[in-house]
């Protein structure tokens, strides 16, 4: 059997098992990957019918290996799970509980299962309790503080759940799903090391639960932690690693993994979106746009990750596409944080910052840990000149994720706006530390050093040099370097930078005042160096432009000719007759 087929079978079983345990988002994810595997048209019909048939003997075999070790490819040749005999009576209660759960009546579901001892029932009961606690916590948060305030509301079920699950784990009567829930609870309670151990146990014994992987990923805040995890090999691990690399800002590694995975899951929207995310972080906007266009064709009602698409559209100033996207997500589901964020972006692009803030706030009401909404809202406040609010918003973003260089950069900008450039430097330093290859950050920091108040030009030059070395697309750094060197009377350096800048402008076919300035400087510089030939070339080029520079060029040329002729005439006089 091909590996594709075996993966398909694994996923099919997993989806049923996951949705049977009400782990819907994991089931959704698995299903997406399932259809993402390239279908073999020849096998489609027979396999389809074969799945309808059950074989309890194979199932039993699967059940034993499931706990014992990672299933190999052969193990997953399993069909629809069938209820076991001994679970039949409990099963009725389970069905009732599950239907309550599906109607979001979590406590009721937990209550139905209060005396059940089957692993599945225990898991569902605990999971329902956990969700009930979370729901209550969210409500309490709003009751006590309002949705955007920080709040000390806690999930009151965590203590009991932790106690119960740790006992179960000690007794060895916990299944991988129980371990996942235990890990979740531990993470919420702040016992991160134990949580990691438990989650690794869970994914090693049941790798198809994507929820467990994402929870584990959230605990891998450094590459060292990630490398220290004791994970068995399974193809799901590749998904995990790709995701983890992305969060650790190792975009190229992540991209490599996803491209490898795409070999098998060639139709996976998820992988496509993740590739788009990585490309976005690498600032390859064109590619991101192409990917998203395709994604939307295949999956027109998708909302996940669409906020990133809107960011790209924003950056490219595609008004109509952005409005189209906003309209589409609005009609699909307007109360999704992503939808609100997209609408916020749209208004921001239109320059209606007040409205934009309203939508970002709504996004944050729906998910107050929505990092990019905090940062984007900060940008809006900056536009609205409400710097204290901007500072607050950025700071919240930074507190959610201290590696968010955009928010640090925003903080720096806000303080610079308030006329506190020295104070702002602290934040710029933070942001360049996190994203040392971004020329924009270096330029912002350099401009801060350059302000009238600080006038720390040496430091500014250092920053511009860094910016020039990391692919400064707008070519600000070179020009500034040239200008600063000129100001500091370092004409040799200035000439070097002007020349480079000039070469660049020529290569990109750009014109403008910078070009004229460069030509003028170089002409004067070479003249003062007595390198008249070069000076003449620049002067002649200057003659193509109108304005005072043209006159200057003319007089320069005249001066040079005079000097040259004078020089030669003197030369001649001194020659022996």
């Amino acid at each position: 059997m091909s590996s594709k087929e075996s993966r398909r079978n694994e996923l099919r079983t997993a989806i049923r098992q996951l949705s049977d345990r009400c782990l819907y988002s994991a089931a959704k994810w698995a299903a997406e990957q399932l259809v993402g595997i390239e279908q073999d048209p020849a096998k489609f019909t027979p396999s389809h019918t074969r799945f309808q048939l059950g074989s309890s003997s194979i199932r039993r075999r699967f059940r034993t290996t499931e706990i014992a070790s990672t299933p190999t490819a052969g193990v997953s040749s399993v069909s629809t799970p069938v209820l076991e005999e001994d679970e039949a009576i409990d099963g009725d209660f389970y069905l009732l509980a599950k239907s309550y759960f599906d109607c979001r009546e979590y406590r009721r579901a937990a209550h139905v299962l209060r005396d059940q001892t089957g692993k599945k029932a225990v898991f569902l009961r605990c999971y329902a309790l956990y969700l009930a606690g979370e729901k209550r916590k969210e409500e309490e948060m709003i009751e006590l503080e309002g949705p955007l305030g920080k709040s000390d509301a806690v999930n009151h079920e965590l203590v009991c759940l932790e106690r119960e699950l740790s006992t179960l784990r000690k007794n060895g009567t916990v299944d991988p799903f129980g371990l996942y829930l235990y890990g979740l609870v531990l993470n919420k309670k702040g016992s991160e090391n134990l949580a990691r151990t438990v989650l690794v146990e869970s994914v090693n014994s049941y790798p198809w639960n994507w929820n467990a992987w994402t929870e584990l990923q959230s605990l891998c805040t450094t590459i060292d932690i990630l490398n220290s995890l004791n994970l068995n090999y399974h193809w799901m691990k590749d998904f995990f690693l790709a995701n983890a690399y992305q969060e650790l800002r190792m975009h190229n590694e992540s991209l490599g993994k996803y491209e490898y995975l795409q070999g098998t899951f060639s139709f996976s929207n998820y992988i496509q979106a993740q590739i788009a995310k990585a490309q976005y972080s690498l600032r390859e906007f064109e590619q991101v746009e192409v990917i998203f266009e395709e994604l939307l064709r295949n999956d027109p009602y998708r909302i996940e990750d669409m906020d990133m698409y809107s960011n790209v559209l924003y950056a490219k100033e595609c008004f109509s596409t952005l409005s189209h996207l906003a309209h589409r997500v609005f009609l699909t589901d307007k109360y999704r944080p992503e939808s609100c964020c997209i609408i916020g972006n749209y208004y921001s692009l239109k320059g209606q910052h007040e409205k934009s803030v309203v939508y970002f706030r709504r996004a944050l009401k729906l998910n107050k840990n929505y990092l990019s909404a905090w940062t984007l809202m900060g940008h809006e406040y900056v536009e609205m000149k409400n710097t204290p609010a901007a500072v607050d918003a950025y700071r919240r973003a930074v507190d959610i994720n201290p590696c968010d260089y955009r928010a640090w950069y925003g903080l720096g900008q806000a303080y610079e706006m308030m006329g506190m450039p020295y104070y702002a430097l602290h934040y710029f330093r933070k942001s360049v530390f996190l994203q040392p290859n971004d020329s924009r950050l270096w330029i912002a920091m350099a401009q801060c050093y350059e302000t009238d108040q600080l006038q720390m030009l040496e430091d500014a030059i250092k920053c511009y040099k860094r910016a020039a070395n990391c692919n400064d697309t707008e070519a600000i750094a070179l020009h500034q370097l040239a200008k600063l060197s000129k100001e500091l009377k370092r004409s040799e350096e200035a000439a070097f930078y002007y020349k480079k800048d000039l070469e660049r402008m020529e290569a990109e076919d750009r014109e403008g005042p910078n070009l004229v300035e460069a030509l003028l400087f170089l002409a004067t510089y070479y003249k003062s160096q007595k390198r008249f030939e070069e000076a003449e070339i620049y002067c002649t080029r200057l003659l193509d432009y109108t304005g005072p520079e043209k006159e200057t060029a003319k007089s320069l040329l005249r001066g040079m000719r005079k000097a040259q002729s004078g020089f030669s005439s003197i030369d001649i006089e001194h020659l022996p007759p």
Partner: protein, 876 residues
């Protein structure tokens, strides 16, 4: 953790307030309802005591932590005595009977009954009715109003909270969220009081955070943070809130406090001052990155429009901007604290600019004061080196002035500004800074034009005295306005907390410290209504007085002032300052009572300051060890100690000047003791150059004197004379009386070594210096003077030993006695030698042998210092 947290800022109904309401019901029972006991009080006094207690409870209701039920019951027991059971039973019953929202509604409508209506004409006999405008009445009305404003969810929350409140009291097991705090509180038993403080504590006091010891008998950690509203109304619109965290010094490492802060943050996420406290804690433990991080975090949050729901003072027009200039001010002082003068100045410059831009005059005044502090504390050789071209306040004065003159101008401007803004504390602290400046700086007229400009080169002790006196006026101002509401609240809280505490006595005696245990240092001030910052400022003035007298040369006055400080202000001041005061006292002991006493006292102080202000106490220890090693002739050890001292100083130029001077001064002295005159002179010379560069004139007087000593010892008296004379003139212009006496003595010794024909002159000099030396000098100086006096007689050809032997023998005897205490072998040997010679001349052979034996003993000890096993060195 024994307290319950409530959200800051607004008045909400809490279980604790409900307890107070129930007690109020007992205090003033409504006519209609029937309590289980109609009027339970046995006496009017008892009834009044309960009233007082309730009044205090209502006043301290603004704390963010409220006592738990069992604590309230304990306090109640203190107040009402035997009635306690009845009351507490009633309280618990009443609270636990509240089981549904409707019970709460009924409870609060019943409460209305004990308030006197506006037109209640009919009053039943001996019914106590609360006036609705009285303190208690207002409290009750606020409770009722707050309850009526609650949503149904709020009522449900209140019900849950009451359940927990009662359950905790019954089981007294810790709440689930606070396991760490419970662990620590049992061990630490410390009381943390966050007091409202203002910038001044920082400004005048070298950014030492206010940390000090206070141990409580009560088994709890309790926080006391004022409601922001009250806080912001406090000080003349100063919008910053610098906190005072009082931490038990020895038992409070970084992490213990950090974990408390983490809990606090979890409990009150909107209380951004937690970040500030964390900043202070990190600052205190010299964690630069963490301090920086938390400082920024605090100001990012607190200055934002959404962050902190404080009531902005109406006077400041720049509300929309926030308070970022204060962030700059704090950042500047942080850099100052960490010894980054350049960054500090950059940041403070920005603070000046932003304050001007925002027309925040208060902040400007503080910033100027901070700059003054910076300039006076760090050594700056030239302005150009450290000040950027953009440096507003200084460049505006003009660059032709020396840094000292600039500082003087800045100080005067700062003082004027503070005076104009009526910032009393700032004025006081500026006056202190001015006194500090006057202490060591010769006042020249800033503009000296024309021939008539008098050039009287002298410091002005009168000015110092005047500034010190003026700065102390602060306390009288605060003494008269003790009725500030916030202070009242603090007072009430403190009173409540002191209920169980025995009233301690306030006596500290360092004299018998060797016998006492470390508790001798522990004394507790009674709560009073003068804010801590004022007390601290006042304390600083005493400390400065002590320093001033030290410099001027009056040992008793210096000692008395240090003692006053340690006794009266020890509690209200920073641990660094307390350490300084102890240092002064111990140094005094060392000089006047010998090293054994000093080391005994040092040991006690070390116990007290084992975790904090390490550097100051460590410095003292090294100084004492060095001194003693020199006396005993342990030159290797002396050099080692000296090197260690040098390492303590920061490597940055211009920072820790005091320490650097001290280290190289001691280095030179060690070399001198080792008879390496050339090297000693070289070190002293380079030290002189450094002092000259950084304008350390007082130190220069000492260095010159040392150079004179070096030449004297090397047998080159003629070369020594100009140095001694120069030192003398320095002492004169800086009013360094004791040093002057010492220089005179050296001068006399120099003359003496030039031959017997100068004995007369030397004698006159010694006689002239004697009153000062005998009145204020330490053991060493006195013995030197005695020996010099004896030598003068002996080398005077007209003096006959046979006629008047006592004139010589008496001072020598005195000298040997004092040198024995000091264990100064070299000088002691000299004195015994002289004695032996005199006895020899007189023919008193027995005495001669005795003196000679003593002489031998000291010479041997000096030559073989290793043989001596000195227990004092072991503590090193």
């Amino acid at each position: 953790m024994a307290a319950v947290l409530k959200p800051p800022g607004n008045f909400t109904v809490t279980p604790h307030k409900m307890s107070v309401c129930i007690l109020l019901q007992i205090y003033a029972p409504p006519a209609q309802t029937t309590l289980p006991f109609p009027f339970p009080f046995s006496s009017v006094a008892q009834h009044n005591r309960l009233g007082m207690f309730l009044l205090a409870l209502t006043k301290s209701c603004d704390d963010i932590f409220e006592p738990k039920l069992d604590e309230l019951i304990t306090q109640l027991r203190e107040i009402v005595g035997e009635l306690d059971h009845q009351l507490s039973d009633h309280l618990t019953c009443r609270l636990s009977s509240l089981s549904s929202p409707d019970d709460l509604f009924n409870f609060f409508s019943d409460l209305r009954g004990i308030l006197a209506g506006p037109d209640s004409g009919v009053v039943v006999d001996d019914q106590i009715i609360l006036d609705s405008n009285s303190n208690l009445g207002v409290f009750l009305r606020r409770c009722i109003l707050a309850f009526n404003l609650l949503s149904f969810e709020g009522v449900c929350h209140l019900l849950t909270n009451i359940g927990t409140y009662c359950k905790e009291a019954l089981s007294s097991c810790p709440a689930y969220e606070l396991p760490h705090l419970d662990d620590s509180s049992n061990e630490v038993e410390a009381l943390l009081v966050y007091e409202n403080m203002d910038l001044e504590n920082f400004v005048f006091d070298k950014v030492t955070e206010e940390t000090e010891a206070r141990k409580m008998a009560s088994e709890r950690v309790s926080f006391h943070i004022h409601a922001p509203k009250a806080l912001f109304g406090l000080i003349e619109g100063i919008i910053t809130s610098v906190l005072c965290c009082k931490v038990h010094s020895s038992s409070f490492p970084l992490n213990a406090f950090e974990s408390i802060l983490r809990q606090l943050q979890k409990l009150a996420p909107e209380l951004h001052r937690v970040h500030f406290l964390r900043y202070l804690n990190n600052l205190y433990h010299n964690d630069y990155p963490a301090s920086l991080e938390n400082l920024h975090c605090y100001f990012d949050y607190s200055a934002g429009a959404e962050g902190f729901d404080f009531v902005q003072p109406t006077s400041s027009a720049s509300n929309s901007f926030g308070r970022y200039e204060i962030a700059l001010l704090c950042l500047g002082m942080m850099h100052f604290h960490f010894g980054h003068p350049k960054q500090a100045l950059e940041v403070l410059t920005e603070a000046v600019r932003v304050s001007q831009q925002q027309s925040n005059d208060t902040c400007l005044a503080y910033t100027l004061a901070a700059i003054c502090n910076l300039l006076s504390a760090i050594g700056i050789s030239s302005t150009a080196e450290i000040l950027g071209s953009s440096y507003g306040p200084v460049t505006s004065i003009g660059t032709s002035l020396s840094i000292q003159q600039q500082l003087f101008v800045l100080l005067r401007r700062s003082l004027k500004r503070a005076d104009g803004l009526k910032l009393k504390r700032l004025v006081a602290s500026n006056r202190l800074a001015m006194a500090k400046f006057d202490l060591t700086h010769v006042q020249r007229p800033l503009l000296s034009f024309g021939p008539k400009a008098s050039m009287k080169l002298k410091t002005c002790p009168v000015n110092v005295c005047k500034e010190l006196r003026l700065s102390s006026h602060l306390i009288s101002e605060f003494g008269t306005e003790s009725s500030i509401m916030i202070t009242d609240g603090v007072f009430s809280t403190a009173w409540l907390k002191n209920l169980q505490k025995p009233m301690g006595s306030l006596v500290l005696s360092l004299e018998n410290a060797s016998g006492a245990n470390s508790n001798a240092f522990h004394f507790c001030a009674q709560p009073n209504s003068i804010p801590g910052s004022v007390l601290q400022l006042l304390g600083s003035s005493y400390l400065l007085r002590a320093t001033a007298w030290e410099i001027y040369g009056s040992a008793p006055l210096a000692r008395i002032n240090a003692l006053v400080y340690a006794t009266c202000f020890g509690n209200a001041s920073s641990s660094a300052d307390v350490a300084l005061a102890y240092t002064k006292l111990i140094q005094h002991l060392a000089v006047f009572k010998g090293h054994r006493e000093a080391f005994a006292a040092l040991k006690l102080v070390e116990e007290k300051f084992c975790s904090i202000s390490k550097s100051r106490i460590l410095l003292l220890k090294l100084q004492l060890l060095h001194e003693r090693a020199l006396h005993l002739g342990h030159l290797k050890l002396a050099q080692q100690v000296c090197d260690e001292l040098g390492v303590l100083a920061s490597s940055v130029t211009g920072v820790d000047m005091e320490l650097k001077t001290e280290a190289s001064l001691r280095h030179a002295r060690t070399l001198l003791a080792a008879n390496q005159f050339g090297q000693a002179a070289a070190v002293a010379h380079s030290l002189f150059c450094m002092c000259y560069k950084f304008n350390l004139q007082v130190e220069n007087a000492t260095v010159l004197l040392l150079l004179a000593e070096i030449h004297k010892k090397s047998g080159n008296a003629v070369l020594g004379l100009p140095y001694a004379l120069a030192s003398l003139s320095f002492c004169q212009s800086f009013n360094l009386d004791l040093l002057k006496a010492s220089a005179t003595l050296t001068l006399a010794e120099l003359w003496l070594s030039l031959g017997s024909n100068h004995a007369e002159r030397a004698s006159i000099l010694v006689q002239g210096a004697l009153p000062m030396i005998l009145g204020h000098g330490g053991l060493e100086l006195r013995s030197r003077a005695y020996i010099a006096e004896a030598k003068c007689y002996l080398s005077n050809p007209s003096f006959s030993v046979f006629e008047n032997s006592e004139v010589v023998l008496d001072p020598l005897r005195q000298a040997t006695e004092e040198l024995e205490i000091l264990e100064y072998h070299e000088l002691a040997a000299e004195a015994f030698y002289l004695m032996a010679m005199v006895f020899d001349k007189l023919g008193q052979l027995e005495e001669r042998e005795e003196a000679a034996a003593s002489f031998m003993k000291h010479i041997k000890a000096l030559e073989n210092p290793q043989n001596e096993q000195d227990p004092l060195f072991n503590i090193h």
